[in-house]
């Protein structure tokens, strides 16, 4: 029977102690503990959220970078193309000019050569003429040194004229 007879005093002290513990712990333990737990959870939540945000931003940044890189590449290609074109043009122009110059030089040279040739021919003709005259003089002088021969020649010449 002792086992199931609750003591009045025990109920009283038990209730008193439990309530005292309850009120003391509520004020000095549960409130700060639960508050801190909640705050920590919130801060962890916030941190996780921020990390997610950062990841998203990183991705955005990477994406932006890629776009930037692609643009830069395109621009580089464009510049290179332009440069190549300009180079080609300059080459072409230079080549044309060189051709022209060469043509002109060749033309000049040809003209000169022609002139020189003509002058040489004229000179040669003159020389030949002079030489011919000299030879002819010498020949005539030789021929005419003998009367006989002079006569033969005159005769031959007269023949020739006659035959004409």
């Amino acid at each position: 029977m002792e086992l199931i007879q609750p003591g009045l005093g025990l109920i009283f002290w038990m209730t008193l102690s439990f309530l005292a513990v309850f009120f003391i712990l509520r004020k000095y333990a549960w409130k700060p503990i639960l508050k801190m737990l909640r705050e920590r959870e919130e801060s962890i939540d916030k941190a996780l959220h921020a990390a997610d945000q950062a990841k998203l931003e990183m991705e955005q940044l990477k994406f932006d970078n890629e776009i930037l890189l692609r643009e830069a590449k395109n621009e580089r290609d464009a510049i290179l193309n332009e440069a190549r074109k300009i180079r080609d043009k300059i080459f072409e122009e230079a080549r044309m000019k060189a051709n022209e110059d060469a043509q002109r030089i060749i033309e000049n040279a040809r003209d000169r050569i022609e002139n020189e040739k003509m002058a040489a021919i004229v000179e040669l003709k003159n020389q030949i003429a002079l030489l011919s005259i000299e030879i002819a003089e010498k020949l005539i002088r030789e021929e005419l040194s003998h009367d006989k021969k002079q006569e033969g020649l005159i005769k031959k010449m007269l023949d020739e004229i006659k035959s004409n």
Binding site: P6, G9, F18, A29, W30, E39
Partner: protein
């Protein structure tokens, strides 16, 4: 509730085996010492008496006997009789052998173990005497004080750790208790009550840790621990009463409507004979009653089983000295096993009491569905 059915089954099996064994030996002892059992200073070992004495409340904290010397810590007796306070130490009773100031500890009958009035100059109980209001600091009251102080010390220091180490990872005692606190908050309070859980958190936490700590301290067999606090009906009844009061004072319109005009049942169950309201009102009281009995019975049973195994040593020694010696290792092994089981039960019972309280609060504050 159905968290650890395996452990509870083992428990039931153990108790059954033990009870069968015990009744056989207890009967043997009983028949053996019928002639000497009422004499003071009886040397015969009475297992049932020893077990009950270890479990019930007492006016002094008995530690051990050496020969005929009782080693015990006297505790203050506070009585109100006929409007007057009587305060003295329990050692004045000389372990129940003497009366003091007209009071004695009853040694037989239905009021056995309680303080009663004696007839002038004798040791006879005065049955005509008026009621004695007994506010003594008994073993259990002292045990409650010890655990109350421990609870306050532990949790204020933990709270300090929380404020000091704000925003940091828990450390030491704080990190040991944090999972338990979170378990009570998330898996008990919030799971059972829902949105309004935070309002009940201080009560549920106090309840859980009060029961848990007292369960654990009850397993330590050395002064100032080891009072069978949660295995006492007055204590579990007090706790159940508080849960009852909190439930009914926080009950909203739906809760009372559910009791007096239960929705979803045919009208003839409520009128002219209010069957359902009667059942529901009975339910209001059976809920805390079940809480009270469950905790009391579980803790008391655990202690009884451990004490029973220890008593077996002496029961056997009384028959034959070597038999007792042979029994000792078996009893100790079972005692250790039971103690481990009790550690589990200490948690489970604290959890069950708290969870059921939370469920009742949840029913009381539930919004209309």
């Amino acid at each position: 509730m159905n968290g650890k059915p395996g452990a509870l089954n083992i428990r039931v099996i153990c108790i059954t085996i033990f009870m069968i064994a015990f009744t056989v030996f207890a009967r043997a002892v009983e028949t053996h010492d019928t002639d000497t059992s009422h004499q003071p200073g009886n040397k015969k070992f009475n297992a049932g008496r020893l077990m009950i004495d270890h479990i019930v409340d007492a006016y002094e904290w008995h530690i051990l006997d050496i020969g005929k010397t009782h080693v015990s810590v006297p505790l203050p007796v506070i009585l109100i009789y006929e409007g007057k306070f009587h305060v003295f130490m329990s050692s004045k009773f000389h372990h129940g052998h003497d009366s003091y100031a007209g009071f004695k500890i009853e040694d037989a009958g239905s009021r056995k173990g309680k303080i009663v009035r004696v007839k002038e100059g004798t040791m006879e109980t005065d049955v005509q005497a008026g009621m004695i209001l007994d506010f003594s600091i008994t073993k259990n009251v002292f045990g409650i004080f010890v655990s109350a102080i421990l609870l306050i010390l532990i949790f204020t220091s933990v709270a300090k750790a929380y404020t000091r180490r704000q925003g940091q990872a828990p450390k030491g005692l704080q990190s040991f208790l944090e999972p338990v606190i979170l378990f009570i908050r998330d898996d008990v309070a919030r799971a059972a009550i829902g949105k309004k859980a935070d309002k009940f958190m201080p009560y549920l936490m106090t309840l859980f840790f009060f029961i848990f700590l007292n369960n654990l301290l009850g397993l330590i067999p050395i002064f100032p621990f080891g009072a069978n606090v949660t295995g006492n009906l007055a204590v579990t009844g007090g706790l159940a009463l508080m849960t009852f009061l909190v439930t009914n004072f926080s009950g909203n319109k739906n809760y009372w409507a559910h009791i007096f005009n239960t929705p979803g049942v045919p009208w003839w169950l409520k009128f002219p004979l209010p069957l359902m309201p009667i059942v529901e009102i009975l339910g209001m009281f059976t809920k805390p009653f079940v809480l009270m009995v469950r905790l009391f019975a579980n803790i008391t049973a655990g202690h009884l089983v451990i004490l029973g195994f220890m008593s077996l040593i002496f029961v056997f020694s009384n028959m034959q000295a070597y038999l007792g010696l042979a029994m000792a290792p078996v009893s100790v092994a079972f005692g250790i096993f039971m103690s481990f089981l009790e550690l589990l039960v200490a948690f489970i019972q604290a959890y069950v009491f708290t969870l059921l309280s939370a469920l009742y609060f949840g029913m009381a504050v539930e919004e209309h569905h």
